[in-house]
């Protein structure tokens, strides 16, 4: 049987996996209960398949995924750290997994207390006292942050039109700015990899609503001028937004709130180890300062004595970003993580994340690698660093894409590639704290082997991968004539 067969193509008329519960009420004909015009004329073409074949189909598909439990996954900015197995167990407890979102708070006290505790912990980690867990992912948190900024400024009678983002920003930042109705203005990067202060000063006018910043930034560098940046932004009457994608570097060491940030989002699926699921779920809670607090979404968890409830009566709130209270199942996992690590463990996370990144950077700086993959902005990094594939391209005739694809044959996941945009042929490497020294050594050996091999025969990398279920796919062709569903 060919491997690449969709579940729809496995369908055979008459097979089934589902047995319907007994029809214990009168079998009234459907057309007596629904108007003729509303009734579906032919059933949806779903597969007809037996349970054993269904399980095999998806198990076979799963075997074609590389995954974190299998090997090293140093995707920059994605923080692919170990996902403790305890978290799946506690999230699956019926009291969590089978709790209806509209259950009366009286019968959901455990869930509300968990949310309350998680909010308090996130607020303490961020150094900002007020938290909403509602946003569903980082980008959703960013949008919340800008909608909060808009509401805050309008409450003060101000109409501002621009939001500043550094040229190193994640793509979600400028995309969010547009969705929130602002114009993106890019701020340049200085020679040391930080924000270009002169450029920032020249652009931080009274038409600017916000500066969105990651610190450490996407080059993995802590911006040493953060206090001056905050000063400039606040002097202009704008808010300072912290993209929490890189929070893993500074927990228990420095806090965004103490750096002068007004609003922060957390990626629970990065820093707080919600498994990424092949593209979600995540959660993107936000924390903010007192002046932003009145505008936080509804409902907010409140506490009176030992009892917890929801507060819907928040007249200046931006409202709801989504249904119900947010991705509670994610909160359970991240809360368990924070309980497991505690105050020392969280600091240990950041220390080892930074140690691992600097160690791997040192390995990448060794002869045999550094000539081909020079480190962009070579100074002490935080939790990640960026190298440029410029040397490999010029000297060996292999591009960053080829190096990444050849890594697939070595059973390591490639780093983030071609980002940040200001580094030519970029590879952005984030090992995370859960990797051992041996794993980091092995990755450096893989890089070295790929470069050595390319000296003799660059064609191997150019045509890689060679050992994966499929080889390079024609993405341009797929986009030209998109086939986005199966048809018989």
């Amino acid at each position: 049987m060919s491997d690449t067969v969709t579940v729809f193509e496995r369908s055979r008329h008459g097979r089934r996996a589902f047995a319907c519960p007994e029809a214990d009420v009168p079998e009234v004909p459907v057309d007596e209960l629904l108007p003729a015009g509303a009734i579906r004329e032919r059933p949806a073409e779903l597969p007809e398949i037996s349970e054993p074949e269904l399980v095999r189909h998806y198990t076979t598909l799963s075997s074609k995924n590389f995954h974190l439990d299998e090997g090293f996954y140093p995707l920059g900015s994605c923080t692919m750290k170990h996902n403790p197995k305890l978290h799946e167990r506690v999230a699956a407890l019926p009291g969590h997994a089978r709790l209806h979102p509209l259950q009366d708070p009286e019968y959901a006290q455990g869930a509300l207390e968990l949310m309350w505790n998680l909010q308090a912990a996130l607020g303490e980690i961020a150094g900002l006292p007020h938290v909403s867990l509602q946003p569903s992912a980082g980008s959703h948190g960013e949008l919340a942050g800008l909608l909060l900024t808009r509401a805050y400024l309008e409450d003060r009678g101000e109409q501002r039109t621009k939001v500043l983002t550094p040229d190193t920003a994640h793509g979600t930042n400028p995309a969010t700015v547009t969705m929130a109705g602002y114009e993106v203005v890019k701020v340049g990067t200085a020679e040391d990899g930080g924000v270009d202060l002169d450029d920032l000063r020249s652009k931080a006018g009274d038409d600017v609503a916000c500066l969105m910043l990651t610190n450490p930034n996407t080059l993995g560098l802590f911006d040493r001028n953060i206090e001056e940046i905050a000063h400039i932004v606040h002097d202009a009457g704008a808010t300072l937004y912290y993209d929490g994608a890189n929070l893993n570097a500074v927990m228990g060491i420095a806090r965004p709130g103490d750096m002068g940030f007004d609003i922060v989002h957390f990626n629970l699926h990065k820093t707080f180890t919600q498994p990424h699921g092949g593209g979600g779920p995540g959660a993107g809670p936000i924390a903010c300062s007192d002046r932003i607090e009145p505008f936080l979404p509804v409902p907010q968890v409140v506490r009176e004595g030992d009892a917890f409830g929801f507060d819907f009566d928040r007249p200046r709130s931006i409202g709801k970003l989504r249904g119900f209270q947010g991705n509670f199942g994610v909160f359970v996992r991240s809360y368990a993580y924070i309980c497991s690590l505690g105050r020392d463990g969280l600091r240990d996370v950041s220390e080892v994340a930074v140690l691992n990144a600097n160690y791997l950077k040192a390995l990448m700086g060794e002869p045999g690698i550094a000539e081909y993959l020079p480190i962009a902005f070579d100074r002490t990094c935080m939790h990640e660093f960026v190298v440029s594939g410029r040397g490999a391209k010029e000297e060996l005739g292999i591009k960053t894409l080829d190096i990444a694809k050849r890594m697939l044959d070595h059973d390591v996941h490639p780093p983030t590639v071609y980002f940040p945009l200001l580094v030519d042929e970029a590879l952005m490497i984030e090992p995370t704290e859960t990797e051992t020294k041996e794993r980091l050594d092995h990755f450096a050996e893989v890089v070295r082997a790929i470069l050595d091999e390319a000296k003799d025969d660059p064609e191997v990398a150019r045509t890689a991968p060679h050992t994966t279920p499929v080889r390079r796919l024609d993405e341009a062709g797929a986009a030209k004539r998109p086939v986005v569903r199966w048809r018989p």
Partner: protein, 449 residues
């Protein structure tokens, strides 16, 4: 060292040596003293796995789950049965722990799941294009508003009051960012969207009209006239829907709807106190290059083998940045996997059988209760009734281990005595009869036997 890190003292010295640093502290030299925390985080110390398990289990025990009561709560999330094979498949590390499939050669499993999911959603909605998932329902509704803005450049969104209150709230929250206003079209006396009132609100500034099928109160809307009225001036017609009733209801796409979006929790996902679940987003072909989110497409590899890739990425934030059609990045891939596995488990015939069972039990329940119907029209899985002395009836039911439904007063002040009652396949005739005894009209006659 925490139990999730593995740096021994020997490793530490070797690593610092390679880096050329004397201590861990050296690595943080870039952080100015003035912004350092300079103290421990004010959090409890770390705890063992066993202690954390027991703490979380104690919290969970203080929630009343659908295992512990007979619940008729719905209003957007429903207590459907989740088959065991979903738990087994979703707990596989191969599905649970990868990132978004940026490297297709080693992500064919996840990409094919997305392609299959898109196919299933397309079948359910009757629209040719689906993305690979959104966060959840109401934010998917808000995303439809954004597509309408990009498509029409207009400034007004008209939402039926039959649209889920959270979806309407999400539209209002997002609207200032979109530079749009939201107006609400009323329901008529029987809780259908008032088609004439809606027609009167739709004008040349209207970018999109939002209805829901079945609507929040459970009514199966007469979509045809709503579509006609909504699209009269070139606005997009957005239909929010729950996938389960679409097993037996005419697909919105066949009725001229432009976009069909919604909450996917009912397809094999747990309640999880509101998430994570997934949202879906299906559209007419002409919107394919304006869609939000990931889309998997079929492709061939260099050897001509069939495979799948993330396609049309020039819509997306990581390529297009400020010109992206949406900012969404991480969505709900694992939950969407549950969705397509669930639909495959039900299968072509089982899906219809389930829908018909819900339809019959729901009508049985409404009749047996004998209360004044708020929405007397056709319903599939949910309906609203007026309950005399609602608070006392609710207290009585809860005392007996029955959660009778969702009180409508907060969202619909005109129905302060209204109760929204959902009937899933987990609610048997016996459960329904208990509900009738507890909150039904006071007439102990046998019903429907």
């Amino acid at each position: 060292m925490s139990r999730y890190t593995g740096v021994t003292e020997e490793d530490l010295q070797a690593m610092l040596g390679a880096i050329g640093a004397d201590s861990l502290e050296d690595l943080f030299a870039d952080i100015p003293e003035s912004v350092r925390l300079g103290r421990e985080l004010d959090l409890p110390p770390g705890r063992s796995e066993q202690e954390v398990y027991e703490h979380l289990a104690a919290l969970a025990a203080r929630n009343r789950s659908t295992e512990e009561e007979v619940t008729f709560l719905g209003a957007g999330m429903y207590d459907h049965y989740v088959p065991a094979l979903i738990d087994a498949l979703l707990s596989r590390s191969e599905f649970l722990t990868p990132y978004t499939p940026y490297q297709p050669e080693i992500s064919q499993g996840g990409l094919q799941v997305m392609f299959e999911f898109q196919t299933a959603i397309s079948e359910l909605t009757g629209l040719p294009v689906s993305n690979a998932s959104m966060y959840e329902g109401p934010s998917a509704v808000a995303a439809a508003g954004y597509l309408a803005k990009l498509e029409t450049k207009r400034t007004k969104l008209v939402a039926s009051r039959g649209l889920h209150p959270h979806s309407r709230a999400a539209l209002r929250t997002h609207a200032p960012g979109y530079g749009m206003e939201v107006v609400e079209a009323p329901l008529d006396d029987e809780c259908f969207t008032d088609v004439e009132a809606l027609a009167g609100m739709v004008d040349d500034d209207t970018a999109a009209v939002f209805v829901q099928q079945p609507n929040f109160l459970g009514t199966v809307e007469d979509l045809g006239p709503l579509v006609e009225a909504g699209k009269r001036t070139g606005a997009l017609l957005v239909c929010a829907a729950d996938p389960i009733p679409l097993s037996i209801l005419k697909p919105p796409g066949e009725l001229g709807v432009d976009l069909c979006v919604g909450e996917g929790q009912t397809l094999g996902n747990r309640l999880d106190f509101g998430g994570p679940s997934f949202g879906f987003f299906a559209a007419d072909e002409r919107f394919i290059r304006k869609m939000p989110g990931r889309i998997a497409g079929e492709a061939r590899d260099v050897d001509g083998r069939r495979g799948f890739v993330l396609t049309l990425q020039t819509r997306e934030q990581h390529i297009r940045r400020e010109k992206a059609t949406h900012n969404i990045c991480t969505a709900q891939a694992l939950n969407a996997l549950a969705g397509v596995v669930y639909l495959s488990w039900l299968g072509k015939r089982g899906f219809v059988e389930l829908g018909e069972l819900l339809l019959r039990r729901t009508h049985y329940a409404r009749e047996a209760l004998g209360l004044e119907a708020i929405n007397p029209g056709p319903v599939v899985r949910e309906f609203a009734v007026r309950v005399p002395d609602l608070n006392a009836a609710t207290a009585r039911a809860r005392e007996a281990g029955v959660n009778p439904g969702y009180p409508l007063g907060r969202d619909y002040p005109e129905f302060s005595d209204g109760l929204l009652i959902a009937v899933t396949e987990r609610r048997t005739k016996e459960h329904i009869d208990r509900l009738v005894e507890l909150v039904g009209a006071p007439k102990p006659a046998e019903v429907g036997v």
